[in-house]
Symmetry: C2
Subunit: 367 residues, 2 copies
């Protein structure tokens, strides 16, 4: 078990990663909050709760009030948020209440947002149950939901009191979800951690085989990278932007496929391949580095094929939330273990990169 | 013109109160923001815009994108918020955009909340157009909307960049709204400012006759009181609670009458009468003080009659947002110019106070 400290101007808390956390949650939370409040809520997904409720409830003297969110991006909406808020009022929730978000990234984002705005903000704890949520979405205080116009267009910065990433839950995670989640670890390595890149190259069999030690190592390194970046730039004014490597094109792919065909990590995987192409063109990485990193991405694939057209994807990147006043921001790797943001990527440059990526994405189909 | 500083751990900004602010808004905002962003939104109400759009637009080189909110608490909802957020995305809003909330308290609360959660928070400016919004809701960073279960149950703390309270708009304010708004100034005097109480007693004719100097004096004193309290307790953990004098019973009245029969200030006026009764019973004010303050409240009336039953009102106070873990919090005046929070008001004590208030509220009908 390891503890990683998040320390920003607005919040300080620990991310605990390891085995056996879920059956011992209540005392762990109490170590942070003192006595548990009168009303504790747990927001979860039906499938998670079916598998884990007995283990989860083990350490609670009084069972928390359960709130459910149906799976899928299509439920990550404002109407879902209002329904949950109303259920909390009806169940006697007040400003002292605590919410536990127990599920994947969507449960974490919605749960954090509900906690951020219920009676102008209550405390919450993240208990992420997917690899992706453990290494990425549960750390950093970003919460929110989608609008019909795009993903995560509404939200708040609201940090949890603590994050408990129990690797035991990963045993039941579908293989495709694990691989998609590992794309964020690949990203973590590329932008900030050469050693993680090497480890993921050398120990791919162990990691994909869910060897406890290997998984914990990748999770802890990924969280440590993200916490380090968030500690230095809580509100995404500068450095934090590099966490978006692969995300500009990745979001465009998700939008063009209506968030149905690909998992988030898979879209980011393709997006990183486009970013590597751009970085190579601009000389921020060498051909050898580009090939090595592209192989690493495919090692944790396969990424699903894409049937999209380049101009459509390029147009979709214009709506990215990272853009301010019409400037298109793009994260490019610098060697292995560093990255930077550029603002002068032209549409034609982007189109070449997307075309390169789509060519590979079509070859992928014939494998 | 006067400037009052709000200075909290999370934000520092000025509240400017005086004449001639609306026709000179753009340069005033630029003094705070630097160059205006590419996309500026103004959220307003149709009736306000019909009267003031020409004056408002005078100083803008490019007219802001107008967003409308229909009047009334029934539009202060999550679905309204989602509609506005979607309109902002459609109009090309981004993280650098600025929103101006130009209207009464509802426009300010909704506008502030929309700004708080659009792309995880954008900057905004308050330009309150009612007396109540100028002295109360536009200062302090509280934003939010209602749920069907109750008022302001959802929201954020999100401070504006600046507040411009132009007293010229008060000329077109209906008399009843002015009188209701003045209840918050009466409250300000009771809890923190003896001199304001005396001024409002002695200059009632001037204030109600909308004499510019008298109005500005009351507005500035009220804002100064609120800013002083917010500066010392931004998140309502302690002192800020005293701003809720009259609000526990006031909210219960609003809820019992479904926010239709009374203006907020009127409900607070009745709520203060109940609080004075309780304070007298507990000896935190003398009979002479209670009578003096009750007269002051009626001087700025008339408060509308109430046809409610005491037990129903007492029950409704149980749902108050200020309550934590079942403890009913109540603000009581201490003499004139001070107040405190008590947590041990029994239901029967509260019922006597509410009964006293309702007796007066019935007499009121026969006047």
């Amino acid at each position: 078990m390891q503890s990683i400290r998040v320390d920003t101007p607005s919040a300080k808390y620990d991310v605990i990663a390891g085995s056996g956390l879920i059956p011992t949650l209540a005392p762990r939370i109490q170590r942070v909050t003192g006595r548990l409040p009168r009303r504790v809520f747990v927001l979860t997904a039906p499938a998670i709760w079916a598998l884990w409720s007995n283990t989860f409830l083990q350490s609670f003297a009084e069972p928390p009030t359960t709130l459910f969110l149906a799976p899928g991006e299509k439920h990550k909406t404002m109407p879902s948020v209002e329904r949950l808020l109303r259920q909390m009022v009806a169940a006697g929730g007040d400003r002292g209440s605590l919410l536990i978000a127990f599920g994947g990234g969507i449960v974490g984002d919605v749960g954090g947002f509900v906690a951020a705005i219920f009676m102008r903000g209550i405390r919450y704890v993240q208990v992420p149950t997917t690899f992706l949520a453990q290494v990425d979405s549960s750390v950093g205080g970003k919460t929110g939901v989608n609008l019909p116009e795009g993903k995560n267009l509404v939200g708040s910065f609201h940090h949890p009191l603590a994050v408990f990433a129990d690797i035991d839950v990963l045993g039941t995670l579908p293989d495709r979800e694990l691989r998609a989640g590992l794309m964020e670890s690949v990203k973590a390595g590329i932008i900030r951690d050469r050693a993680l890149v090497r480890f993921m190259e050398e120990q791919a069999d162990e990691v994909l085989g869910r060897d406890q030690k290997a998984l914990e190592k990748v999770i802890v390194a990924s969280i440590r990278m993200k916490a380090g970046v968030v500690n230095r730039d809580e509100r995404e004014n500068g450095l934090r932007m590099i966490l978006n490597l692969g995300h500009t094109v990745g979001h465009a792919i998700e939008q063009a496929t209506r968030y149905k065909a690909l998992l988030h990590g898979e879209a980011v995987g393709w997006g990183m391949i486009a970013a590597l192409f751009l970085a190579l063109r601009r000389g921020t990485i060498t051909r050898g580095q580009a090939e090595r990193l592209e192989s690493l991405i495919h090692l944790y694939g396969p990424l699903p094929p894409l049937k999209l057209r380049a101009p459509k994807l390029v147009a979709a990147t214009g709506a990215d939330k990272k853009n301010v006043s019409g400037v298109r921001r793009f994260v490019l790797p610098i060697g292995i273990g560093d990255a930077g943001v550029v603002e002068d990527v032209t549409p034609s440059e982007l189109e070449s990169a997307v075309t390169y990526m789509l060519t590979h994405a079509r070859e992928q189909r014939t494998k």
